[in-house]
Every structure is written in structure tokens, then in C-alpha cells.
């Protein structure tokens, strides 16, 4: 073995694998999984598992075995950062994966039956070990997934191959490439699991099955897969179509890392054409290469950062959040209804206030639809959804708001209206109640100017990408006068709602909208130079952004972003002068998707805009073709060709440079927050780790050089962030 002995992978406990022979002759092998899933790769674990396998083979008192893999609560899937940092050479990782695979192959080849008994989240390596057993009995709470691709890797212990052999290539692609998660019943239907039972009787059920399998262990690769799977695997052309579609989907799916997804598909292709052993070789090699890839490292760092954000209270003085049992939401539009939905799902009751019964009913219907969609997606049950819905009531006055622990105002971006609501709410609620505004474009301090208790007024900005069905990020906005308890309480609530949550300083655009405004402004400059809108959008998507800047601008609304741009200009001076395009678009009422007049066509095929959509209705979700009338308004003729890299770098670096400025201005509390928010809130490419990681990866001097060259060409809007200059000068890094 050539693995460096200094490997910093957590060495598993000497008793990580234990074996005990039951009176019925079934050996109970317990793989007491270490906290660190990657330590399954450690040679010590391998050898312990190997010893257990030898004992089962040799001990005449053992008829068969049950392998209990891991704790009932599962563990957080994610790649161990230390492992990645520790491995320098692809060949080392390849060797580790190959060796573990060899041990599992010995397990699979045993002449005595081994039945895996699994519960809870059966993720990654744990799933792969279970798959090497002769049968799997699953607790009814089990879920199965192979998320390695999301982390920029491929499953490294032949799990993908075994899924393909048991359930067919389609299921293997779903699990290994598309990131599907199956519940116990689905896994059984797919042929991955042999029996499902209640947790308390799991081991006994597995032992019975092991006894039943003595002398008749199932062999043969496709014995359990369905007709469709067999038909595809047997047919060369059908297989080719399947893989071609998989490659296409992998490229279009922003959640995956293209390189890793392609490798996973390649592994399965090899399996289909050349068999298990050849595919095992390809898999180990791919694993090795990916372990040392930039993308895997950035993703691991990002996952680590996201977990750190999850644990962060959002305040530095250790002030605890107040308990939140009752939340009032004022305004039941799209965002108000969504907030109500997330909140009742998390436990607190919600009192939703709307102007009249019709609007209240519409909001209720929207919440119900969001819950029903979760049921339809099998993310929850009807029972749980009904329980959540029962925690929601609506009102058209302020009744039932008085005892709220948090009031979330989610009315349209009208400062007078927001001030009036704050005034009404303050007259009712207790001094311990947090009052939060969901504004994205109005500084909180301007809303709370006349507040009687400005210390409890904060912002909760739910940031939603065009390509996301829901907001994943909340910026909790902290004005100077806000007290820590109010901030911590808002942060805790947002986390309960399932959001990545960062705390930012109050100011125009906060962090996300400020950075986003710079990003789309640069895109508008590029379009103003005659580059076609779809060229700009696809350039940035090609760079890894979830959404093209102009599609995103259509979605958010030109009027809305222009307002932020205007606010930033006022606050930050001429460096922030908005591109003239904003004024032209506004004058021509080309506001984007909201009125069906954007850079792309929305609504009817012929491009005529139907009457303004009513509340709660939206235009067709997907933008159509480029709408050439936008070019007329901007007075450009599309056709200018800029190098792809210039389009990408100008937009991306305007994003990065402004993010670094936000850190320097104290808008962000840490570069970590800036990275997490950029990825989760704005679709910055995850495999680049976020704007700050990106600077570290490229090197501050290199980033500065590029920014400076744009500054020379385009003037003061490209003025480098002082922090970037400082970093470059000192040769320092953010992390």
C-alpha cells in the first residue's frame, strides 16, 4: 500500500467494526461509523472490515451475518475537508478507493449470506457498503442517496455499479448523477432494498433473512431489475440515448459539478459496455482525479462555510435569541405567503394580515398550494401539511397580532406604507417583539426613522434566484440602532425556516442586491456595446452562474434594480453611476417579467403583452426568445463580438470587486458570509467557492491586475476595492 502514513484522515476507532455471534448462528457485524464518513477510506477501517469478513468465512459456527451500518440518526453528508487537503496526489486517492472496493468485493463474494440492516439516512459510503451485502433490509424511516457528484466527486466504493446491477442504469443515473433521494418504499420498488420493516425489529428481520439465504445467495447482475432496465441494458442504441440525455441534463443542471457528473456517467457507460471490473478501475481513477480537483475543494470549503454559517448566531456579543412561538406576517403577496409557509412548517403559528378577505383568501390558497406541492414531491405527508396549515390564520385587521414574537412586514416596496405599518404594529406589540421588514431596496433605518423603539426593527431580506423555486438565503439586515437580541431572534427564525442566514449592515442594496446591481450593471454596459443579451447570459451561465444577469434582471424587475442602483449612487458617489440603460428601459416601460416587457419575451407567443397580470398570477415562467424591442430602446444593434472570457470576467469581477468592497465597508461580517450568500442567494458558481474563495484561488494580485486593466479602459466604476489592493500588496489571502 502506498498511502502516506501521515494521512490526516481521522483514524477510525480500533473497534469500528465489531462482530458478535448470536445464538442462532448469525453474526452481528456492527460498523460503528465514525463521525467522519470519509474515514471509511482509511486503511485501518478497511483492515478491520477485512478481518470480520475472514472470520465470517472461516468460522464454522457462523451461518450468515447481519451488517448493521451506522447510527440510526445517520450523519451529515459532506466531504471531509481535511481528507481533501491531506491528499496531494490523485493516485493516492485512487488507491484508497480501489482497496476499499477490493474489500467490499470480498464481502460480496462470501459464500455465507450477509444482510445489511440500515436505518435513517443511508448516504454515500454507508449505502455503498450495504450494497455490497447480499440483501438489504431497511428501516421504514430510511432514505437512500449517493450525493458524491454534488460534492464534485463520484461514489468511490462501487456503489454506483451495484445500484446499476440491482436496479438498472436509469436508477443509477438518478441516484448518482441527478442527486435523487429514495425512501425505503421507493428503494424497494426499484429493487435496491429487499425488505422494509419497522426500526425496532430491523436486526431480527435481517437475521431471519440471512438464515433464509443460507445456501442460496442470489447471484447475477440484473436478477432484480425491472423489464425496462433489462431492455435498456440489453440494447445498445437505447443505452446510447440514455447516456446522451444524461450528459445533456448534467450540463444543464446547476446543482452538479459538470466534471464530476460526466465522470459518473462515464463510469456507468463503462459498466454497461465492459462490465463491473473495468468500471471499477475507471471509477477509482475518476475518484482519484476528482479528489484533488479544484471544484471538489471549493465545494468542500463551501459546505464547511455553510455549516459554520448555520452555527453562527449572527451577533458577536453572545446575546441569545428570544423564543419565537407566534409570528405575524403583514402582507400576503408571493413573499408574505411564502414566509407564512416556511414559518408554519417550522413550528410557530402565523397570523397573516391582508387588506381584505379576498386577498387573505388568496394568500391562504397560496400557502396551501405550497404545502400541497411539498406533499406531491413526497417531501412531507398530507397529515404534516395539514398540521402546518392549521397553524396559519388570516385577518383583515390587526387582531391576534398583539402577542406576536416577530412581526414580518412583507408589503410592496413603498416606504410610506412600510412606515405606516411599523407605526400600527408598534402600537400593539410587546417591547420584546422583533419587527422585521422584507424590503430588498429600502434601507431599514429609513423605515424605522420614526419608530418608537428602533432597537427592535431589523430587515429580513429573502433572496430568491430566478432558477430557484424558493429562497435559500436570508439577509438579516442590522441597522446601527438595532439591538443584538432583535438581530439574533431574526437570525434564529430564518434558520428555523430552513434558510442560510447571514447578518449584514444596513445600507442601499444590503450585500446581495448591491453586488447583484453591479453585476447586472456591467452586463448592461456590455449589452450597450452591442453584445446580444442571450450571448451575455449564456456566457455567464457557461462560467457557472445559475442565472444569466439579464434573465435575472427581467425576473427582479428593471424598476426595482434601478431603484437600488439609484440608492447606491446616492450613497457611494459617482463610482456607482448607473448605466444609462436603466433610464432608457424605464422610460420605455420595459420593466421585465412583471409587465411582460423585458429582454426576453413573456406571455403570449406573438409577443403582445396581455393585460397586466392580476395579483398572484405570473407570466409564463420560462423566458422565451430574445425580445428585439429591448435593443431598440437601448439604441444598439446586436452583433458586437467580444471574447467570451471578457464578457465573463467583466461581469464576474464586477461582482467580486463589489463583494470585496462590502467586506471593507463592514456590510459583511466575514468573507465566509459573503461566499455563502453569493452562492445560495445569487447563484455564484458553487464550484468556485464564492467571490472571496475565487480571489484566493486566482490570487489577489491577478484579480487586481484584471480589475485595474478594466479601470484603465472603463473608468471609475472599476475602481479596485481597497481591500483587494491591500491584499494584493501584502500577498495575503481571505482564508
Amino acid at each position: 500500500m502506498s498511502v502516506a502514513p501521515t494521512l490526516a484522515v481521522e483514524r477510525p476507532d480500533d473497534r469500528a467494526v465489531s462482530l458478535e455471534v448470536r445464538r442462532d448462528g448469525v453474526a452481528l457485524v456492527t460498523v460503528d461509523e465514525p463521525r467522519d464518513p470519509q474515514s471509511l477510506l482509511h486503511p485501518a477501517f478497511r483492515s478491520q472490515l477485512g478481518t470480520a469478513i475472514s472470520r465470517i468465512d472461516a468460522d464454522a459456527a457462523i451461518a450468515g451475518a447481519v451488517l448493521v451500518a451506522g447510527r440510526a440518526d445517520g450523519f451529515a453528508a459532506g466531504v471531509n475537508l481535511r481528507l481533501l487537503k491531506a491528499i496531494q496526489f490523485a493516485t493516492d486517492a485512487e488507491e484508497m478507493a480501489w482497496e476499499l472496493g477490493q474489500v467490499l468485493r470480498r464481502l460480496a463474494a462470501l459464500r455465507k449470506p450477509v444482510v445489511a440492516a440500515v436505518r435513517g439516512a443511508v448516504v454515500g459510503g454507508r449505502f455503498e457498503i450495504a450494497l455490497a451485502c447480499h440483501a438489504i433490509v431497511a428501516g421504514d424511516d430510511s432514505t437512500f442517496s449517493l450525493p458524491a457528484v454534488r460534492a464534485g466527486l463520484v461514489p468511490g466504493a462501487n456503489g454506483l455499479l451495484r445500484v446499476a446491477s440491482r436496479a438498472g442504469l436509469r436508477v443509477a443515473l438518478d441516484l448518482g448523477v441527478e442527486g435523487a433521494r429514495l425512501n425505503a418504499v421507493e428503494a424497494m420498488a426499484a429493487g435496491l432494498v429487499d425488505d422494509v420493516c419497522a426500526g425496532p425489529i430491523l436486526v431480527d428481520a435481517a437475521a431471519r433473512r440471512a438464515k433464509a439465504l443460507v445456501g442460496r445467495i442470489p447471484r447475477g447482475p440484473t436478477a432484480r431489475s425491472g423489464f425496462f432496465a433489462r431492455a435498456v441494458e440489453g440494447n445498445l442504441i437505447a443505452r446510447r440515448v440514455l447516456f446522451r440525455n444524461a450528459y445533456e441534463r448534467a450540463r444543464a443542471d446547476i446543482g452538479t459539478v459538470p466534471a464530476a457528473a460526466e465522470q459518473a456517467i462515464h463510469v456507468l457507460e463503462t459498466y454497461a459496455s465492459k462490465g463491473f471490473d473495468a468500471a471499477g478501475r475507471v471509477e477509482a481513477k475518476a475518484f482519484g482525479e476528482l479528489v484533488v480537483s479544484e471544484a471538489a475543494h471549493r465545494l468542500a470549503e463551501l459546505a464547511f462555510a455553510a455549516r459554520a454559517v448555520e452555527r453562527d448566531s449572527g451577533v458577536d456579543d453572545g446575546v441569545a435569541p428570544r423564543a419565537v412561538r407566534h409570528v405575524a406576517v403583514v402582507g400576503g403577496g408571493a413573499i408574505g405567503a411564502a414566509i407564512a409557509f416556511w414559518t408554519v412548517g417550522a413550528g410557530p403559528s402565523v397570523r397573516l394580515k391582508e387588506k381584505d378577505d379576498k386577498l387573505a383568501g388568496l394568500a391562504m390558497r397560496n400557502v396551501r398550494a405550497l404545502l400541497d406541492a411539498r406533499v406531491a414531491a413526497k417531501e412531507t405527508t398530507t397529515l404534516v401539511a395539514d398540521q402546518a396549515f392549521a397553524r396559519l390564520t388570516s385577518t383583515t385587521d390587526f387582531s391576534g397580532v398583539r402577542h406576536a414574537d416577530v412581526v414580518v412586514e412583507a408589503v410592496p416596496e413603498d416606504i410610506a406604507l412600510k412606515r405606516a405599518i411599523l407605526h400600527d404594529v408598534e402600537a400593539l406589540v410587546a417591547p420584546t417583539c422583533v419587527v422585521a421588514s422584507t424590503t430588498a431596496s429600502i434601507p431599514i433605518a429609513r423605515i424605522s426613522e420614526a419608530a418608537s423603539r428602533p432597537d427592535r426593527v431589523v430587515g429580513m431580506h429573502y433572496v430568491r434566484l430566478r432558477s430557484q423555486s424558493k429562497a435559500l438565503l436570508v439577509e438579516v439586515v442590522r441597522p446601527d440602532r438595532a439591538s443584538s437580541w432583535a438581530v439574533a431572534t431574526a437570525v434564529a427564525l430564518a434558520k428555523r425556516q430552513g434558510k442560510a442566514t447571514i447578518v449584514v449592515k444596513d445600507g442601499p442594496g444590503f450585500y446581495t442586491m448591491r453586488v447583484f446591481t453591479r453585476f447586472v450593471s456591467e452586463a448592461l454596459h456590455v449589452v450597450g456595446e452591442g453584445v446580444a443579451t442571450d450571448v451575455v447570459d449564456s456566457a455567464l451561465k457557461g462560467w457557472g452562474f445559475a442565472d444569466g444577469p439579464l434573465q435575472a434582471l427581467d425576473e427582479l424587475g428593471v424598476d426595482f434594480v434601478a431603484r437600488i442602483a439609484h440608492g447606491l449612487h446616492g450613497a457611494q458617489g459617482s463610482r456607482m453611476t448607473p448605466p444609462g440603460s436603466f433610464a432608457r428601459l424605464l422610460a420605455a416601460e420595459r420593466l421585465g417579467k412583471s409587465n411582460g416587457r423585458g429582454f426576453y419575451r413573456y406571455g403570449r407567443e406573438d409577443g403582445t403583452s396581455p393585460a397586466a397580470p392580476g395579483r398572484g398570477r405570473t407570466w409564463t415562467d420560462k423566458p422565451g426568445a430574445v425580445d428585439p424591442r429591448a435593443y431598440e430602446v437601448l439604441r444598439v444593434t446586436p452583433g458586437t463580438r467580444l471574447p467570451l472570457e471578457e464578457v465573463q470576467m467583466r461581469c464576474a469581477l464586477s461582482f467580486v470587486n463589489e463583494a470585496v468592497r462590502c467586506l471593507g465597508d463592514g456590510v459583511l461580517r466575514s468573507p465566509r458570509d459573503g461566499d455563502v450568500a453569493a452562492v445560495f442567494g445569487l447563484g455564484f458558481p458553487a464550484f468556485r467557492g464564492g467571490p472571496f474563495r475565487y480571489v484566493d484561488t486566482l490570487g489577489a494580485p491577478d484579480v487586481l491586475r484584471r480589475v485595474q486593466s478594466y479601470a484603465d479602459r472603463f473608468g471609475e466604476r472599476w475602481e479596485p476595492a481597497p481591500r483587494l489592493v491591500h491584499l494584493a500588496k501584502k500577498g495575503d489571502r481571505f482564508f
Binding site: 403559528s349 381584505d356 387573505a360 383568501g361 396551501r368 392549521a390 397553524r391 388570516s394 383583515t396 387582531s399
Partner: protein, 458 residues
């Protein structure tokens, strides 16, 4: 009956004439053990199969209890007990109180049981909760009743029911088929749920006819009373009297047709219109019509009760107090709907009050005939002597203090919800009038009657 001495004397129980049981909470001066009605709320009432077509009785109950708690700003963890009822218990929810607790996402450790006393169901819910509270078993209770025709059970013929039961017990397919062989096509049709009473075979309308004739209540009197009920309900709605008592319902699944008012009330009621209607139960000599009766109605009503001590601790001002209550039972052949006249004097006696001491009366209006007959007998010394064993009449009813905002005829009558409605309306009106004692009363099917004495301070 026979609950004398319950809860170590905190509740006095006495047994009167005609199987009447009365309970009173310790005297007016006592602070210990008083039951506080903190809030009352109901849904708008709607003719069956109209606005609430898609809602079951349980759905309505859940919507109402959620809103009651939200408006009261009471944390559901403070609730100890839920007592609820349906006049026609559904086959799917034998214990609707518990299903309301579960369906409204209330804490699972809340106790819940269901009661049924026909048209007095939510009064029964109120007094059953009060008994538990006086016994020290609960200090915060949500009570009420709910009815919806949308989930009224479909009843099958006896022959079909037996065949199904036999088939279930059959061991072979042959035996199973044989169980169904004897059925005739008619046995397969659903049976209209009984509207007549099993003991008497009389429909409620027949009972009203019987009473109208017995007490010589004319068609004109009945029509005038029905008109009064609608007109008063309409003017109460116009004056905003019910705003604090009635929630708005936006029925799922479409959530687009808000229900904000009772749709039973005739806003343009004219006396002449009533005269045109034919008798509904006795074609030749009858006086009871669809116009001077209450209609089948969907809706729910609920009350929030607390012990006085707990209300103080939680900072709730009382809407009013429950002072005493009584239930009566009489022969349904003789006095089918005369429950108020039997129960009310006993409830008043329990706190030493006379009808004159009462500032307001709310009586459930099943039929104008029933109301007028009871009112007449309240003032009848002969009735008191013969039927109640009392020397003096209960007292003359002052119609200016009687159902001042209309009653079940003009507002509607989801049987299980009416009790909560009249308690709430009475207490709000008492407060508007400066407080005092109030009487709520009503008949219930089977010859039962219910009455409770409430008190409000302005």
C-alpha cells in the same frame, strides 16, 4: 342527575320537578370557583349546502377554534380541555372535540371529549366544561358545537346493513353472496336520515304544530314573530352588532368566496310575505310554515372559558360569568318543545333570582310557535301550578328584552352551534346595556330543555 355534592360543595346541585337538574356556581359574592366566559365567536351561519358546501362540521370547528385562539391571543398550551359537539355526530369523527385539538395543531396533551344534546349541544359543552373546571380538572377550556350537512352520514337500509354484517362474518364466497341474495332493489337506496323522533314518531314540525294548537298560537302571531326575528337580525347586522362575534370564513379549497355574514337573514323581510306560505306539516289545519320555522343551517360556535383565578393570571377580562344552569326532561308527547319553561325557573332559583331580575333573555327559536308557547307559559300561573309544582308563574316576558337581535329563525340554526351563539350575543348586549343578569334557554329534541343564567358587568 344525582350529581349532588360534586366537587366538595363547590357546586351545588338540586333536583326539581319533572326531572330537572340545576347546578349553580357558589353565590354572587364568592370569588372562588366562578367560571368566566372570556370570549365567544362563531362562523357566519349559512343555509345547508350553500357557502360551506365543501366544509365538514370538523373543518368548520377547526377553522373556528383556530380563529378564537388567535383573536384571544391565547397560547394553545394554556388550554386544558376542549368540549365540543355535533347535533348529528358524523360517522368519521365520533369524538369531534379530539379531532379539533389534533386538526387545529393544538398541544396533544389537551383533554377532549364530545357531547350531544341536540339543539342544546353547545350549552351542554359549556356546562360540562364548567363542571370539570369546578372539580379542579381544568382551568382553561374551549367549548362549542359545529354542524354541517356536507358530511351528514348516509344511512343505509336495515336490510342492507345486516347483509353487510353477515357477509363480513362469512367464511366462503358462497355464504357471502347468500348474505346479499335476499335484498330487494329498494334496500340498496340510501335512507334519508331520521327527521322524526324515534320515541314519538313525530317530526319536530309536528311537535310545533301540536304546541301551537295546545297553546292556541295563531298563524298571524307566528308569522309576526318570524318577521320580527329576521328584521331584528337584519338591523343588528346593519348596525355592526355582530362584528365582534362573527369571524369571516374564506372556505377552502378555492379560498375565493369569503363568507362574512349569515345568509339566512332576510334583509328585506315583510310581514305579508310570510302569509303566502303554505303550512308545512298539517296541510288543512296547520299554522307552522317554512317561513316561521328555522332552516337547516351549517355553522359553528365556540366559547373560551376560564376559571376566574386563571383568567386573572393570564390577564383576561371577563366577557361574563356563568352563574347557574339547569336541564329539564319532559314527556315529548305532551310537551315536546317546552324545555325552556321547565328548565329556566330552576336555573333562576339556583341563584335565588326571579325572571324580573334578568335584564335580557335569549331563547333558541326552533319555531315561532315554540317560542310563543313558552313565552305564554312563562306568564301562566296555571301552567306553573300544574306542570312545575310552583305557586307562582315564572314571570311575564318583556319582549323588549327578549331575543333583541333576532334569533334562530332570522339568523339560522346549526343545532350544535346555537348555544354558543346565544351566550355570546347575550353577554355582548348585556355589556352594552350596563351589565346584569341574562338568561339563555332553549328546547332540545326528545323533550329536553336547557337554561343557564349568565352575568355581565359593563
Amino acid at each position: 342527575m344525582g350529581s349532588r355534592g360534586v366537587a366538595k360543595g363547590r357546586m351545588a346541585t338540586s333536583q326539581g320537578h319533572s326531572g330537572v337538574t340545576a347546578s349553580s356556581v357558589d353565590g354572587p359574592g364568592s370569588k372562588r370557583g366562578r367560571i368566566v366566559i372570556v370570549r365567544g365567536l362563531r362562523t357566519p351561519f349559512a343555509r345547508t349546502a350553500t357557502a360551506y358546501r365543501d366544509l365538514t362540521a370538523l373543518d368548520l370547528g377547526i377553522l373556528l377554534v383556530r380563529e378564537l385562539l388567535a383573536r384571544a391571543e391565547l397560547d394553545p398550551t394554556e388550554v386544558d380541555l376542549v368540549v365540543f359537539g355535533q347535533a348529528g355526530p358524523g360517522a368519521h369523527v365520533p369524538n369531534i372535540a379530539r379531532d379539533i385539538v389534533l386538526g387545529a395543531s393544538m398541544p396533544r396533551n389537551i383533554q377532549a371529549f364530545s357531547v350531544s344534546r341536540a339543539c342544546a349541544t353547545s350549552l351542554q359543552a359549556m356546562t360540562s366544561a364548567a363542571e370539570a373546571m369546578l372539580a379542579g380538572q381544568a382551568s382553561v377550556a374551549v367549548v362549542g358545537g359545529t354542524d354541517s350537512a356536507s358530511d351528514a352520514p348516509i344511512v343505509v337500509s336495515k336490510a342492507l346493513a345486516r347483509a353487510v354484517a353477515d357477509a363480513r362474518g362469512a367464511r366462503t364466497i358462497r355464504e357471502r353472496l347468500r348474505a346479499f341474495a335476499k335484498l330487494s332493489p329498494g334496500d340498496l337506496l340510501p335512507v334519508t336520515p331520521a327527521s322524526s323522533e324515534p320515541a314519538t314518531g313525530l317530526r319536530m314540525g309536528d311537535a310545533a304544530e301540536h304546541m301551537a294548537k295546545e297553546a292556541r298560537i295563531s298563524r298571524e302571531q307566528q308569522d309576526a314573530f318570524a318577521h320580527r326575528s329576521h328584521a331584528r337580525a337584519a338591523s343588528a347586522w346593519n348596525a355592526g352588532i355582530f362584528v365582534d362575534e362573527v369571524m369571516h370564513v374564506v372556505p377552502p379549497p378555492s379560498f375565493d368566496k369569503p363568507v362574512t355574514e349569515d345568509n339566512v337573514t332576510r334583509r328585506d323581510s315583510t310581514l305579508e310575505a310570510y302569509a303566502r306560505l303554505p303550512p308545512a306539516f298539517d296541510a288543512r289545519h296547520g299554522t307552522v310554515t317554512a317561513g316561521n320555522s328555522t332552516v337547516a343551517t351549517d355553522g359553528a360556535g365556540a366559547l373560551l372559558l376560564m376559571t376566574e383565578a386563571r383568567a386573572k393570571e393570564l390577564g383576561y377580562a371577563p366577557l361574563g360569568y356563568l352563574r347557574s344552569w339547569a336541564y329539564s326532561g319532559t314527556d315529548p308527547n305532551r310537551w315536546p318543545l317546552m324545555g325552556p319553561a321547565f328548565a329556566a325557573p330552576v336555573a333562576l332559583d339556583a341563584i335565588g333570582a326571579k325572571l324580573n331580575d334578568v335584564a335580557l333573555i335569549e331563547m333558541h327559536e326552533a319555531f315561532a310557535a315554540q317560542v310563543l308557547c313558552n313565552v305564554k307559559m312563562f306568564g301562566s300561573r296555571a301552567f306553573a301550578r300544574q306542570e312545575l309544582g310552583r305557586d307562582e308563574a315564572i314571570g311575564e316576558v318583556d319582549m323588549d328584552r327578549f331575543n333583541v337581535h333576532g334569533g334562530s329563525i332570522g339568523i339560522g340554526h346549526p343545532s350544535a352551534a346555537t348555544g354558543a351563539r346565544i351566550v355570546t350575543t347575550l353577554l355582548h348586549e348585556l355589556r352594552r346595556r350596563g351589565g346584569g343578569l341574562g338568561l339563555v334557554t332553549g328546547p332540545a329534541a326528545g323533550g329536553l330543555g336547557a337554561a343557564a343564567v349568565l352575568e355581565a358587568v359593563a
